[in-house]
């Protein structure tokens, strides 16, 4: 309402945004909803799929397992992330930057890499299992809940750590000092003052971890063993050799969506009640611990981030072991790399080109739509904003299923093409980019752009000459993060790929299932190094802000 009601470049940006979202989000989602109510053979309306999912033990077990791993992953991430956040923000810990960086690296490395690295360490022949057994510690089998929860906890704790730490850093030092002055000891202060104040950030992080654990497909399918969760069940139903069961796959997907929806609604509600914090007058100062306590604190912090980094180290190490075919030999060599370069060069090329193209689309669309959302508060913009919530709550497997059932008929028959993979990568990440553009824009005063217009620049010129240059660091950081998620995307690609359009994560997944750990490690190392380089670039652009990653 606060702008002139003329048609300008932003009207078209809004139209474009609606078109993209309608075709790539709403339509596939609608296809899933429709398919869940349709009988596969007769094509008529039915509730049988839902009856099956509710009553058959297979699905009930998957539902319960999904809830167990999501809650467990959340609990594990909290158990690691909260102590780390408190120790690093309230006490003198040497190498805090290193801890932050390792956490970010753990965050950006794909979970399926963690899963198979832990198999190498804790599987039947794993060195760590043998080492621990030698000192009398017997661990349960890595396959099953133990493996899934281990991977989830170590993969997702950085969300809790980074979000909680940044919230802890915005509590005025005087608040905790006042509590201390009133006689509250360390523990009491923590539970009565500090934690309640960071509860909004903490609960957001916890619910985020829940949703991510629920949606994760790679981890349970690699280390799950006989533990089937909803995501793996939907995938299996869909890709079953016997032609699959799109109706039941869609219904299982619907269950996933509904659970995520409830949890995300809960998260939004939790964040909405966040009280407006006053201005930060004095940052809390980390205290010096007594020697013994200090040693313990350092041990805890470094144990956590090292455990989280271990999979990456193992993967890099494995990729450099000497191999002959799939069999490891003593000593080091680069056979694994020469093999992937020889056998699957197109897979590497695919990953980089698909990610690059999708990121370019994300940047352009995300900036335009983000602009519309931030600068125009029309009801239409609100609708756009809500529609963009969809990818947050729809797991990759489900989006993959939606794409296949939607885009296999003319005029949009693109299944089996590179286009469908690129579009999928694009739409999965677009909302994050829109949000970040919008929030960058909200920090750029509207008057700056108006000033440019009053000086004779058209709205488009004002955007290009004034707003865009100011947004650029944020856009670049966002693009790099989109690139990281795009190049590491497994679940939806696994559903959409054909031989020609295979990507690195898909290849790694298939290699792991075939026991080809050498080539999997070489490809994983390429992914890790690429992600690490992107993280470094983000640090350069944002001036070392770990919170940029959550």
């Amino acid at each position: 309402m606060n702008s002139v009601r003329r048609v300008d470049v932003w009207t078209w940006a809004m139209v474009l945004g609606f078109a993209v979202i309608a075709v790539l989000l709403v339509w596939p989602l609608w296809s899933i909803v429709a398919a869940s109510f349709i009988d596969n053979r007769t094509g008529v309306f039915t509730l049988n799929n839902y009856v099956s999912v509710m009553t058959r033990p297979l699905y009930q077990t998957a539902l319960i397992n999904s809830l167990i791993v999501s809650l467990g992953g959340m609990a594990g991430a909290l158990a690691l992330g909260v102590p780390l956040a408190i120790l690093t923000t309230r006490y003198q810990i040497v190498g805090r930057d290193l801890i932050g960086t390792l956490s970010v690296l753990a965050l950006v490395s794909p979970p399926f890499i963690g899963a198979y690295a832990w198999i190498m360490m804790l599987g039947q022949n794993g060195w760590m299992r043998h080492g621990l057994a030698a000192i009398g510690i017997e661990l349960p089998s890595i396959y099953g809940f133990f493996g899934i929860l281990l991977v989830f906890s170590l993969k997702f704790f950085p969300f809790v750590y980074l979000m909680t730490a940044s919230s802890l850093n915005t509590i005025n030092a005087s608040v905790e000092e006042a509590a201390e002055g009133l006689g509250a000891g360390t523990i009491r202060r923590l539970f009565t003052v500090t934690l309640p104040l960071v509860l909004p950030a903490l609960s957001s992080a916890a619910l985020l971890v829940f949703v991510l654990s629920l949606a994760d497909f790679g981890t349970p399918s690699i280390v799950g063993g006989r533990v089937r969760v909803l995501a793996t069940t939907a995938y299996n139903l869909f890709t079953n050799e016997m032609g699959g069961n799109p109706g039941l796959a869609s219904t299982t997907s619907m269950v996933l969506i509904v659970i995520s929806l409830v949890v995300v609604a809960l998260q939004r509600w939790a964040v909405r009640r966040r009280n407006v914090s006053g201005s930060l007058l004095r940052r809390p100062q980390p205290r010096v611990l007594k020697p013994f306590a200090s040693v313990m604190a350092h041990l805890v912090c470094y144990a956590i981030v090292l455990a989280a980094s271990l999979p990456s180290l193992v993967v890099v190490y494995t990729s450099l072991r000497k191999t002959s075919g799939p069999v490891f030999q003593p000593g080091f060599g680069i056979e694994s790399y020469t093999r992937v370069m020889h056998e699957v060069p197109h897979v590497i090329a695919n990953s980089f080109s698909y990610s690059t193209v999708s990121v370019m689309m994300i940047v352009i669309l995300g900036t335009l739509i983000g602009y519309v959302l931030a600068r125009r508060d029309s009801p239409l913009a609100g609708t756009l904003d809500s529609a963009l919530m969809i990818p947050y709550i729809v797991p990759g497997v489900v989006m993959g299923v939606g794409f296949v059932v939607t885009f296999n008929v003319k005029p949009l028959e693109i299944t089996g093409t590179a286009t469908i993979l690129v579009l999928m990568l694009m739409i999965r990440r677009l909302p994050y980019s829109v949000r970040s553009s919008a929030s960058i824009l909200k920090q750029i005063k509207g008057s700056i752009e108006e000033a440019a217009i009053s000086l004779g620049a058209s709205p488009a010129q004002a955007f290009l000459k004034v707003t865009l240059p100011l947004m650029l660091p944020g856009i670049i950081a966002g693009a790099l993060m989109s690139f990281i998620t795009a190049i590491n995307e497994l679940s939806s690609s696994l559903i959409l790929y054909v031989g020609r359009t295979m990507t690195m994560p898909v290849r790694i997944y298939l290699s792991v299932l075939d026991g080809e750990f050498g080539t999997a490690a070489a490809l994983s190392t390429i992914l890790l190094v690429t992600s690490g380089a992107a993280v470094y670039a983000v640090f350069r652009v944002t001036g070392r802000k770990e919170s940029a990653f959550v």
Binding site: V4, K445, E450, Q461, V466
Partner: protein, 355 residues
């Protein structure tokens, strides 16, 4: 430079009228101020003229031509904002050059005009600096130069001094005034600060809730407020309802000819209230007790509580020690009849008292 005609401008937001039949003429070369409390619609009116808000009805004319349908970037108006709105990624000189570049002026001309504009705002040797290296006052000078260098038809300023500290505010406001005089640009200036408005304007338009209360010179607005709202908003004013209620002036105290006028509210400025004995016989007399005396250096204010809870302030110029020690004493106040303002109790409009 151009005359601006605003004809019956209306602008509504859901549940509120931001501009209610605003009808004004701003003369060519005039320094015209929109004054009113926060939320009264000043910014809305200014941005309507600039073309950033589309009004619901009414006409905006500049130099006799309707511009309602002209996009903002074609209107040739310079705009200065409260938050400076300096382009943070451009140097001072590039900020000032921005408007000339969009107009495609030749390079040497741009360089020359930018330098001249910067000199006008006393930043002649700051062209190469980046905005964050400047103080708030300097940034606002850059914004001023940037708006004036394009020789705008109209200069629009939205509370340009509100973010500056008090001393700088007075300094820069004098500079703005002098510049505007020397360049004779039609200027529409928004402020909520009545003192600033009085000091700087050729004419002031006092607004409240989207409506215009009075348009007149600063002297006239101060001396003859057109409504009770203007009287209470501009300068200090003792407001005295007439009646028997708490805090009112008893009707019986008034001379017959005032009582005859019907229900109204009287008002008088503290500097017109005389404390103690006076030879002026043509005045209302009220008795009261001094509650406190607020000392402000050259002057002081005596707060007096009169019968029936009526509360009056009297201005004491160069207060003597005796005057400052008046607290607790009862005093006699005289309100000269020719200094009283009267407003209709129903619509708040000024009523001329019979001499």
């Amino acid at each position: 430079m151009a005359r601006v005609d605003l004809r019956h401008i209306e602008k509504g937001y859901p549940g509120l009228k931001a501009l209610d039949d605003v009808d004004l003429v701003i003369e060519s070369g005039e320094f015209f101020t929109l004054l009113g409390p926060s939320g009264c619609g000043k910014t809305t009116l200014l941005r309507t003229i600039a073309g950033f808000i589309q009004h619901d009805s009414g006409e905006v004319l500049v130099a006799g031509e309707r511009i309602d349908q002209m996009p903002a970037h074609k209107r040739n108006m310079g705009m200065v904002y409260q938050d400076y709105a300096i382009f943070p990624h451009l140097s001072v000189a590039d900020n000032v050059a921005f408007g000339l570049k969009t107009r495609g002026r030749p390079k040497p001309e741009i360089a020359e005009r930018v330098q001249r504009a910067l000199e006008l705002v006393q930043l002649g040797n700051h062209g190469k600096r980046l905005p964050h290296e400047l103080s708030g006052g300097q940034q606002q000078r850059v914004a001023l130069a940037r708006a004036m260098v394009i020789s705008p038809q109209i200069l629009l300023m939205d509370e340009p001094l509100s973010n500056l500290d008090a001393k700088l505010r007075v300094e820069l406001r004098e500079d703005i005034r002098d510049l505007q005089r020397s360049l004779a640009i039609t200027t529409i200036y928004v402020t909520h600060d009545q003192e600033e408005a009085l000091a700087i304007s050729d004419r002031i338009c006092v607004m409240q809730s989207g409506r215009v209360h009075q348009v007149a010179s600063p002297q006239k607005i101060y001396a003859e407020p057109a409504t009770l709202f203007v009287a209470s908003f501009i300068g200090a004013m003792n407001i005295m309802p007439v009646g028997s209620q708490e805090g009112a002036l008893a009707a019986a105290d008034l001379p017959e000819r005032l009582r005859a006028r019907g229900p109204m509210t009287l008002a008088i400025r503290p500097e017109d209230v005389i404390v103690g004995q006076s030879t002026n016989g043509n005045a209302l007399a009220v008795e009261g007790a001094v509650e406190k005396v607020t000392f402000a250096g050259r002057e002081a204010y005596a707060h007096v509580r009169c019968a029936n809870g009526l509360h009056l302030q009297a201005h004491l110029y160069r207060p003597s020690a005796g005057q400052l020690a008046l607290v607790g004493e009862s005093v006699r106040l005289r309100l000269p009849l020719d200094r009283l303002h009267a407003f209709d109790a129903a619509d708040g409009k000024r009523v001329e008292l019979p001499a």
